[in-house]
Point group: C2
Chain length 361, copies 2
C-alpha cells in the first residue's frame, strides 16, 4: 500500500513514520532535496505544480494527500484527500470566514479589503485594534499586520496592499484552543480532546491537552458541521478563540496540525495514523487521551539532545531541518507533565517560563 | 548523528523508526535488497562479513550496533556496541550457560556434546526428556531436537550431529518470562517490567507485561550481573523459566528482542529508543510500563489490515516482509487489553485462543 504526499516537511515525516509502523510505503513531492520526509519514503524533488512530477507522485498510489497547505488548488490531483474543495476554502481567509458564518459558527468581525478605500471603510466598521491579513499564502504569522491605531493603517497598506486582503477585529479572548477532528471515507467522525495553544510572534510554542472539557461538545459540533459541509476525508484542525466562555472560529487547517503533535505520545491514536486510516478507507482509531500532555515546539534550533533527554519523560521529536530563526525544527511532548519538568523544558526551548505552570495546573 | 546497524530486519526497522523521531540517521547492512529496514535509512546490500561493506557501513557513524545475532564475531567492527565479547558469548549456547553458572544464576542441567559417545553420556547424566541443540546459529526453534525417549537419540544425532552441540534437560516450568535490561556507556542500568511469553513451535507468539512482579527483583539482579560481567552497552534480553517460584536463565539475546516489542506502545521509553540512547552515550529513559500490555506476533502472513484495526486499541506493526510459513511478519500490541479484544486478535493471528484470558487476568 503506497501513500503519495504533496509536501515533504515535518508533517510529511511524521505521516511517514506513523505509516511505516503499519507497513505503508510513502512517496513525497517537495522542492527541497533535503526535505525531512525523505527519511520516511521516496522523495521526488520539484515544484508542487509540476504536472509530470505530480503524475509520477500519484502513479499507483492507493491514496494521495498533502501536508503543505499552499499547494496550488488548480494543480490538485483528482484523487486528493482531503478534497481539493476543502483545500481551496482553507487557502482563502475570506472563504474560510464565510464558511463559518454560513454554518452559524461565530468568528471575529471581518471584512474583505481589496482597495485602500475598502481598508478605510473596514477600519471604520470593525474598529481598532484589528489585523490586516493577506487572504492567501499566510502561515506562522507571515502576511499579517496588526493595526492598533489609525496611524498604522498607511504602513500596513504599504506592506500588504495589492493582493486580496481581509481585515479582522482583534477580539480580546481568554485563550486559544484548537479542535482536531477526523472523518473517514465512510463518514465516520472522531474528535480529539480540545487543545490549548500558546503562540508567540505568530508561531505556536506550546500546546496542552485535554483542555476546556466544558467546551468539548461545542467544539465537536462546530467541527462536525465543517467536516460535513466540505465532505471532508482526513484530519482537520480548527483554530479557536475562547471568549466569554464560548468558542469563536479563527481558521481552518485541512491537514494534520502542529497543535495535534501531542497525540503521537498522548493519545490512543495519533492524528497522523488516523489521517492515514481515513484517506485509505480504514477504520478510525480511538482519539482518547491516554494522559494529560504538554507539547513544546523547538523553534530556530534544536537544543543539545542530551539536555532534552535529561528531562524525565520527555518524548523528543527532531525534524532534521537546518537551524533558522523562527523555523520549527522539533517538538517535545511531556505526558503527565508537572510544572518543574515543563519549566525545564521551556527553558531549554528558549521560551518564557512564566505562566507555564498555570496552563498545566 | 548517524547510527550504523549490521542487519536490516524488523528489529533494524524498529530501531530506525525510533531513531528517526530523535532526528538520527541510519545505515543498514543486509544481504536482502528488500530488507524491512530499508524504509528507515540507507541500505547497503551484501554479506555481513564483507570487509569493504562493513567499512562503508561504519564510515563516519557515531555508533555501530547490530540487530542480527549471527554476525560472524571475527567480522565485528571495533566500535561495535553491545561489545563483540557479549555477542560471542551469546552466539554459543555453551558459553552462555557457563556465564550463567559462573555468575551463580540457575539454569537447566546441561552438557556439551561433540561426539555420539558424549551424547549417550549426557543423556545418562541429565536424563530425558531433554533438548539437543546446536551450540551456534539457532533461532526460532531451528537447530533443535526434543528427545522424549531413548529411541529418539539416533534420529536427533543424525539430524544435528557433526557440529558442536549442547544437551539441555527439559525442565518442567510454570511459565516462560524474559527480562529486558539496558546499560548506558556510563554504566547506568534500567530494567523493564518482566514479560511473560508464550512460544509455539519454537516461535514467540504472545507476550504480556508487566508479569510476575514478585520475581522482578530477582530478575533485575541476575540481569545486572550479566550486564556488568559483559561490560555491556545497549539492550539485553534474558529469557527465563519460572520453576517452583524461582527463575532459571535459558538464553541471552544481546540486542533488542521480540519479547520487548510491547515497550513501543506500553512503556515510557521503548527498548529501541533506549538501545539507541545507550550506544550513543545519551541518558536512558524511564522503563516504566504506562499500562498493562499484551503483544501478539503475526506469523506467516499479515491478516487484512482493516480487520486488525477494527480491534479497538490495536497498535498494529507490519514489517513489510513477504509472507512465509513461520516467518514473523508483524505484531500487534493491546494496551490495557481485555479478554475479548485479545481473543479477537489471537483469532486474527491464527493462534489458539484458549488460555489467553488467563494470561491477561
Amino acid at each position: 500500500v503506497t501513500v503519495a504526499v504533496v509536501g515533504g516537511g515535518q508533517l510529511g515525516l511524521m505521516l511517514g513514520l506513523a505509516g511505516a509502523r503499519l507497513g505503508l510505503r510513502f512517496r513525497f513531492l517537495d522542492p527541497a532535496a533535503d526535505a525531512p520526509a525523505a527519511r520516511a519514503g521516496e522523495l521526488l524533488v520539484g515544484a508542487y505544480d509540476d504536472a509530470e512530477l505530480l503524475r509520477r507522485l500519484c502513479d499507483g498510489a492507493d491514496a494521495v494527500t498533502f501536508e503543505f497547505e499552499n499547494l496550488p488548488a488548480g494543480a490538485a490531483p483528482p484523487q486528493l484527500l482531503p478534497p481539493a474543495g476543502a483545500l481551496a476554502v482553507a487557502q482563502d481567509r475570506l472563504h474560510e470566514k464565510e464558511l463559518f458564518r454560513r454554518l452559524g459558527i461565530g468568528t471575529a468581525p471581518y471584512a474583505a479589503v481589496d482597495t485602500r478605500a475598502e481598508l478605510d471603510d473596514a477600519v471604520a466598521e470593525i474598529g481598532l485594534p484589528a489585523v490586516l491579513k493577506t487572504r492567501r499564502f499566510g502561515y506562522d504569522g507571515k502576511g499579517q499586520a496588526v493595526l492598533r491605531a489609525a496611524a498604522a493603517v498607511d504602513a500596513a497598506w504599504d506592506e500588504l496592499g495589492g493582493v486580496p486582503l481581509l481585515l479582522e477585529g482583534l477580539v480580546p479572548f481568554e485563550r486559544e484552543l484548537s479542535v482536531l477532528a477526523v472523518r473517514g471515507r465512510d463518514g465516520a467522525t472522531a474528535f480529539w480532546p480540545l487543545t490549548e495553544n500558546v503562540h508567540r510572534a505568530g508561531i505556536l510554542r506550546q500546546s496542552v491537552a485535554p483542555a476546556a472539557p466544558e467546551l468539548q461538545g461545542e467544539a465537536e459540533e462546530l467541527a462536525a458541521a465543517v467536516l460535513a459541509e466540505l465532505e471532508y476525508v482526513g484530519v482537520l484542525a480548527v483554530e479557536l478563540f475562547q471568549r466569554d466562555g464560548r468558542l469563536l472560529a479563527n481558521e481552518l487547517a485541512p491537514r494534520v496540525h502542529n497543535s495535534g503533535h501531542w497525540t503521537i505520545d498522548g493519545a490512543a491514536t495519533s492524528q497522523f495514523e488516523n489521517h492515514l486510516r481515513a484517506i485509505l478507507g480504514l477504520p478510525l482509531g480511538s482519539t482518547a487521551a491516554v494522559a494529560p500532555s504538554a507539547m513544546v515546539n523547538l523553534v530556530g534550533e534544536v537544543p543539545p539532545l542530551r539536555r532534552l533527554l535529561e528531562v524525565e519523560g520527555a518524548r523528543v521529536h527532531v525534524y532534521g531541518k537546518a537551524p533558522r530563526p523562527g523555523r520549527k525544527v522539533g517538538h517535545v511532548t511531556l505526558v503527565e507533565p508537572d510544572a518543574e519538568r515543563l519549566r525545564r523544558l521551556l527553558e531549554l526551548a528558549g521560551e518564557p517560563t512564566a505562566g507555564a505552570a498555570t496552563i498545566v495546573a
